[in-house]
Subunit: 697 residues, 2 copies
């Protein structure tokens, strides 16, 4: 065991609680999450000289049981109140007259008699209201504070941890983890570092996340047993997360009835199998009454699934859904199913088509408590992909959009790459054309037909900064915020994150610090895109670890990830006219836009088309010149980023500055390597010199 | 522990001893190795009805002490006699009049009074004579048997095992091992499977090998300690090898004085360091009096070395040589030193130059008991390389040529690739021009200036067939035989190996079996060359495991292994005129031959020159058409090989047939993959179609 490490405060430094903690705060209501709210308030007040009081808690508060208006009102600067637990304090009672309903997790924020009031109908709403106040800071106490109902757009805001219990010989403790070990598991055992876990839950709640799955979707031997004899480990985690409104989910293996239950089959239509899942699930809920449900990667990259029994993925998902339904649990069923033993010589198979080919025909066949979890793009979390057509193809299915917060293909938390703008683009994408429903709408669902919300692969580990690269915290934060409200401007979220994480009162030259961070990060995703794989081509990474360039690394492999660059041109022809027909999986207008090499957006051109190097982009540049220009520009951008960062030396926390400095050096090195390999590769192939005669090796 | 496995008999099946074992054999002489000879004879006679007798052993033989001629003579069909131990039996005494001297390991074979006689001056000679008789079979008893002195051309015929004691997390139990685990070590401990080890020693002696190093040249923590507190393990191995005339060597880390001795330095000129090595070496010899010496990989691929102390490799090697000299030990010092952190953008550095650049200036500065171990080619055991120029550059240094029997870059014992012809080409190469000294001459040395002999990286493991692929046994056999006599025809060695391993009396249709094996194997190395990397270009393998094609896999890496293929041409310009100047490391005539793209042998063209795809080879074909033609032909060759092999089903041992069948399937698959990737890669780059319009993907 290594010594305990005090983890970085991330977006909840004590200083962020000063505005609240220096005031007289009344918390009204009863129940676990109200206790959490009160504890937060009390801690803040203890630190910054305010005063925390409670009412409405029959269990022990002297004010409980009808104190109502009176001396309490006079002494209060802020009220957080839960309706339905005793008489509301006066400001809250007045606020309660505002029309509307917050739902399970929402809250009203209003100024009532000069006092800001957070009013909720359920404890979770009060908690989210509290963290909203923290984000607002002093402006929460502005007399002009607008009255507004806050409700999450998405009912499900979930993180998937790809954490292994045992250290996997190839993938390690955390598959695709770039932030040290797992916060849950170490070398085969639960870590039981409950303080750290509680800090994590608190950060997640403050970002808006309300569910996490605690083990890798590739479920190996030990991990499978979390469902049965190691369930106690999961229950322990659930106990820590519960006070922050976070439910625990578990990734399970479809073969569990065989590997754990000793049955001869895992056939979803076999009664013994159905009985086994029902019984096991009952035991789970007996131990964890608010258990969230199961997450399944089936028939994918070697994981078992219903195909083994000649059954459909609807059969498979519904099996688990039926076991979970009596308890209110959900199945998250991943749509990431494709042939990972493809022959590069076979041009008829297109991995991009796979999820749609497999799942679209199953629309309407899934139970109501099945969430089909669809990766945001058709391939695999590349820096740039089109939006998955599955998201527009299954109106009668509850769809979740899956993002990857862990930066597997976007610099692995060694590169600054703020992904908020990328996710925002996906969420704002309107598959049926401008002005119609967006991907966010699909994930949010409609009244009576809730969506599957957002899911993301987590990026934290036991690293002192949580995320390896301190600035990668912003991705986790932005994911939660976008899941709560996908219409937020990702750059506004960035500002929010900067203000919380680097409170102006704790830095030298607060304006410079804020501006610098913003300038480094706001365009960093497009910067990463510039110096890596151009025009949506993807997968030019080193096989295995996926870090650094290897243009042909996946070109002749079984993974279905090709670019087909030759001496004349580059890109994958996915048109209906001459290619794999993938463009036909989109509804109009995109089916037509993507089909046309001239209408297709530049940044996706090579995803959809194989074009000559001298093809003229919509930008006016040629493909080859675009490759050169963006790669030179990308490196310049990273160098400028590093130069900017140097200015902050001494102005912010030294440990953060040191860690980021070290990573920026690596980012400059790596970006330069990307630039040179990509430029050389395409110069060698095309023979076309850079118009500006810059150095290509 | 897995259950004991009976290992395959390889080239010493019982049947090979029938001619000898069915006769009356007299063994004359005393001493350990004579006991070995007698035991071999006695076992053969017990099996095949002959009679084994001894004389000349004062310890216990009734015939000892002057029996001389007499009844013994009449009853003898074969005599193996050591001079100098009592009166020789009559046929041997007559034979002893033949002029000449066999030296320490040689022997005379002659027909004396109708009886074949093996006569030796030292016990090892008698042992080699015995195995020579086994090779000859019935023809040893032919009245026309010519009288001939047999002496090894090379004093040192050594195998290096890259076996780890601990399982290395990346490299496993045996680095670059393709035949299961180590025969010496398992999971951190000595295996102590002495029966298996004895079988191995016997096979080696029968091939001519007389030295082995028992641990990986990359010396990790546990392995370092074989020199000190784990020396007992080495002594135990030495005890098993000794009766077969094989000395044990040990790979040591140059940092041993620091990591084992606790000294602050390993500086070769530091007196404490010199004292430490002297003392440790004394202890080694106290335990293993016939210990062979140390093998060192220094300043290479991360191993420590004298460069850390600003000392030369002569200083480093001489340090160990001085410690070993009092005991008659040798240092094998590897010349495999190069910059393995090269930047692909730097065209001025050429890995091919490195060994010569580092070592040639040190000629004459090494002690007499230093053997500089030089890889046969300038890079790293590729299917085709020129001969290392170091072998012609250090007349005042004792040079060994290092081959790789383990098929790291030649199919990893999944492909049939008989390497005898490749090694023979190297050994027959005359660096100073036709008719002058050959590489074999350099390795053999001259009277008064012994050479360093041949060394090879071993290919055996605990696989039941020793080498994974049963036919890969031929490589081990051929190495030993070529080390004994580099003038042997490698195809004659192949025949010898086939006859021994598949004795005609044990197979159905012996002629078909022999012909088939010969036809499959004789040209298999060139076949491998055909379907893999063309024209000497090298290193188009998958990084890390080095199996299968990845044309650009090492193109942008730090290992100095480039081909520079672009849309116009391919190859490395190593000329003096316009390239790295590597050609200048050769003496005339090769310096001029290699410098000229028109005189350079086709098979090395791309090693020395960057040429256009339409460059016309000496063969009359263009480079690009040669690439296509050889790749199609190579696959056809492998398919034909598999077809031939099918004919042997039922005619030879089923286990051997089954294993080879399985590997041939993989070879066909892999060769096809090579063909298609290489052809597609170069078609995409060159745009030049195959003249014969065969399918290129």
């Amino acid at each position: 065991m290594s010594p305990p490490v005090t983890a970085h405060a991330a977006w909840l430094p004590p200083e962020a609680f000063r505005p609240l903690g220096s005031r007289r705060v009344l918390v009204h209501g009863a129940g676990g999450l109200v206790d959490t709210v009160f504890d937060e308030v009390a801690r803040a007040c203890a630190a910054y000289g305010g005063r925390a009081r409670r009412s409405g808690d029959p269990a022990g508060d002297p004010v409980a049981g009808g104190a109502g208006a009176g001396p309490a009102d006079a002494a209060v600067d802020l009220v957080l109140a839960l309706r339905g637990t005793g008489h509301l304090p006066a400001p809250a009672a007045r606020a309660a007259r505002v029309d509307g309903a917050p739902g399970d997790e929402g809250f009203l924020l209003t100024m009532s008699g000069g006092v800001p009031v957070v009013l909720a109908d359920a404890p979770a709403g009060l908690l989210y209201g509290l963290f909203h106040l923290v984000r607002l800071g002093e402006s929460a106490f502005d007399a002009a504070l607008p009255t507004r109902w806050h409700r999450p757009a998405m009912p499900l805001r979930m993180l998937d941890h790809w954490d292994n219990v045992d250290v996997h010989p190839v993938m390690g403790q955390v598959e695709r983890g770039y932030a040290g070990g797992s916060i849950f598991w170490r070398a085969g055992a639960a870590r039981r570092d409950l303080a750290r876990l509680r800090d994590y839950a608190r950060l997640l709640a403050a970002s808006g996340v309300n569910a996490i799955s605690v083990n890798n979707v590739n479920v190996h031997g030990t991990e499978a047993r979390l469902l049965t004899d190691r369930l106690g480990d999961v229950a322990e985690i659930a106990d820590v997360l519960r006070p922050y409104g976070i439910r625990v989910h578990l990734a399970v293996t479809f073969a569990a009835p065989v590997v754990l239950g000793g049955l001869p089959t895992a056939d979803p239509l076999d009664e013994r199998v159905r009985g086994w899942w029902a019984a096991v699930t009952r035991q789970v809920y007996a131990r964890i009454p608010d258990f969230g449900g199961y997450l399944v990667k089936a028939d994918s990259e070697g994981q078992p699934g219903p195909f083994s029994y000649g059954r459909s993925h609807a059969d498979g998902a519904n099996l688990l859904a039926d076991a979970l339904a009596p308890h209110g649990g959900l199945v998250h069923w991943r749509a990431f199913v494709y042939n990972h033993h493809q022959d590069w010589r076979d041009r008829s198979t297109d991995r991009a088509r796979a999820a749609h080919d497999h799942f679209a025909p199953l629309d309407g066949r899934f139970r109501d408590n099945v969430v089909l979890q669809v990766k945001s793009g058709p391939i695999d979390f590349q820096a740039r992909e089109p939006v998955s057509p599955v998201l527009a193809a299954m109106p009668a299915t509850r769809l979740a959009v899956e993002f990857q917060v862990t930066q597997e293909y976007t610099g692995q938390q060694r590169h600054v790459c703020y992904l908020g703008p990328a996710w925002s683009e996906v969420l704002r994408f309107a598959p049926w054309g401008p002005g119609r429903r967006t991907v966010a709408d699909v994930a949010a669902g409609e009244p009576g037909a809730p969506g599957g919300g957002l899911v993301a692969v987590a990026n934290v580990g036991d690293d002192p900064f949580w995320t390896g690269h301190p600035l990668a915290q912003a991705n986790l934060y932005a994911f939660g915020r976008l899941a709560w409200d996908p219409e937020l401007d990702p750059l506004a979220i960035l500002d929010e994150w900067i203000s919380l994480t680097f409170p102006p009162t704790t830095t030298g030259d607060p304006e410079l610090v804020h501006e610098t961070l913003h300038a480094m990060m706001d365009d960093s995703w497009r910067g990463y895109e510039r110096y890596t794989a151009p025009l949506g081509v993807g997968f030019m990474v080193r096989p295995g670890d996926h870090y650094g360039p290897d243009v042909d690394g996946y070109e002749y492999s079984r993974w279905g990830t090709y670019h087909f660059a030759d001496r004349d041109g580059v890109g994958v022809d996915r048109t209906r006219a001459t290619g794999t027909g993938f463009t036909g999986q989109y509804p109009p207008p995109w089916s037509a836009v993507y089909e046309s090499a001239h209408r297709c957006p530049d940044e996706l051109l090579l995803f959809f088309h194989h074009v000559p190097y001298r093809h003229v982009l919509r930008s006016g540049s040629t493909v080859i010149q675009h490759i050169y220009d963006t790669h030179f520009a990308g490196v310049e951008q990273v160098r400028a980023m590093r130069d900017r960062w140097r200015l902050l030396d001494g102005l912010i926390d030294g440990a953060v500055h040191g860690r980021v400095t070290e990573r920026l050096d690596e980012q400059v090195r790596s970006a330069t390597e990307w630039r040179d390999q990509i430029n050389t590769y395409f110069f060698r192939k095309s023979g076309i010199p850079d118009e500006r005669r810059r150095r290509i090796y």
